[in-house]
């Protein structure tokens, strides 16, 4: 299966690979997927308390090329967004940007889940109620 140039670029030169201090109050961590399923994503955000803006985002992913590219792209998109804006990121936008084939759509779903999970973790740590 031939992948898009954008996908290959994110796979070969992934952006924002790394680890933030998960114990910091400003950091939210999302860990989604399972090794038996063939993909695990860990996505972390660091939020500026004053502005509610995501200052930094890091990821590590165990998975196929599409999973790695989806998480790399997600971290790029997260940086500079407010937490509320970040919550609006839709997996189909990732599918379009990377031209994911239909069998790889679940990778984008996983990335969206990772974003939501990281934000939920951040909010929980800081006593912010989830929006209805």
């Amino acid at each position: 299966m031939a992948y898009s140039e954008k996908l290959l670029d994110h796979f070969k030169k992934p952006k924002n690979v790394g680890t933030l201090d998960k114990d910091s109050k400003a950091v939210g961590t999302g860990l989604v997927g399972a090794p038996e399923c063939g993909d695990v994503m860990r996505l972390q955000i660091e939020v500026d308390e004053e502005s509610n803006v995501i200052k930094d985002a890091k990821f590590k992913t165990f998975g196929c090329g599409s999973a790695i590219a989806s998480s790399s792209l997600a971290t790029e998109w997260l940086k500079g967004k407010t937490v509320d804006e970040a919550l609006a990121i839709d997996n189909m936008a990732i599918v379009e940007e990377l031209a994911l084939p239909p069998v790889k759509i679940h990778c984008s779903v996983l990335a969206e889940d990772a974003i939501k999970s990281a934000i939920a973790d951040y909010r929980k740590k800081n006593g912010i109620a989830e929006e209805a």
Partner: protein, 406 residues
Amino acid sequence: MNSDKLIYLDNNATTPTDPRVVEAMLPYFTQHFGNAASRNHPFGWQAEKGVDTARQHIADLIQVDSREVIFTSGATEADNLAIKGVFEMYAQKGNHIITLKTEHKAVLDACKKVEKLGGEVTYLDVDREGMVDLKALEAAITDKTILVSIMFANNETGLIQPMKEIGEICARKGVLFMSDATQAVGKIPVNPKELGIHLMAFTGHKMYGHKGVGCLYVSRKNPRVKVTAQMDGGGHERGMRSGTLNVPGIVGFGEAARLAKLEMAEEAARLSKMRDRLESELMKIEEVYLNGSQAHRMPHVTNLSFKHVEGEGLMMTFNQNIGVSSGSACTSASLEPSYVLIALGLGDDLAHSSLRLSLGRFNTEEDIDAAIQQIGQGVQHMRDLSPIWEMYKEGVDLDAVEWSEH
């Protein structure tokens, strides 16, 4: 990371056609184009002669009578013909077939079909290496059993089953023994008569012939075996497989068999040396596991799991230059990891992390050097990216983590 040369290490999927095979085939497209069944003119005679010679080469390779070679479109058709054909032909005797969970889909799906038609099929477990349990096999045979179908060598791991012992059990119990020998014929000595195999499927394109021609060996004597044709028509191939013979394809298959017989011993020694070097170098990387059996396997295959690295992703690090296969779900249409590796007792995580490297006639030592280097770099790249590798290195017990299944 990039070199211009493309390296092919997926010879269990298919082999390149040997130029000598192509050379042998060419006259049969334009000059000797006749129908081998045209008995009354030189065009037919030439085609028939080409087929006869090829049939003899194939018979010589496996040391059987040439009349025992039934040409088909490939090993899948031969597997289907053997299983469904025996089921139909021996319906009076019984309706039970025994096979393995690690068989090729061509065998497993033909067995599924037999079940739909009212047959009963036992799918035997294998041990950690993929080996059949001979006691379990013997115990599974009932007075309704008509066929045991066990592959010669596994396509994913290269494991070779104890064919002689299986043949002895089948002979003692009076049941037919069929084998899918697609991965073995042409690469190691295969002699169905000595091993007690009554039906055996294999194909040209795994032994440097081309795609679209295979055959089923059907024993003519002691016992005389018959299968019900699954393709009806002109009664070709002793009535077992109708259809105009693929003359150029058969000629090529024959030439491939002749070359395989000539070069087998030397080639197997060369490939196993290269395979061993590839394997031992890759196994120097941390947390790499061999799947299958080191002692009982084909000379040209290795199957390795690179822990905490997903196989398809790993392949993407080098697949611009190197072609291999993976047991990862992402490489299969079903999105399930390799059922063969799962049957060996591997966890899904290790099955997702596997690569199959299969060498062939046209590989060189330089190919192996490049593969060692690029796969090594790929594993490093993927582990640098892998959260579970990081957790593993930090000493986190991954089995204790509550994963969110999806």
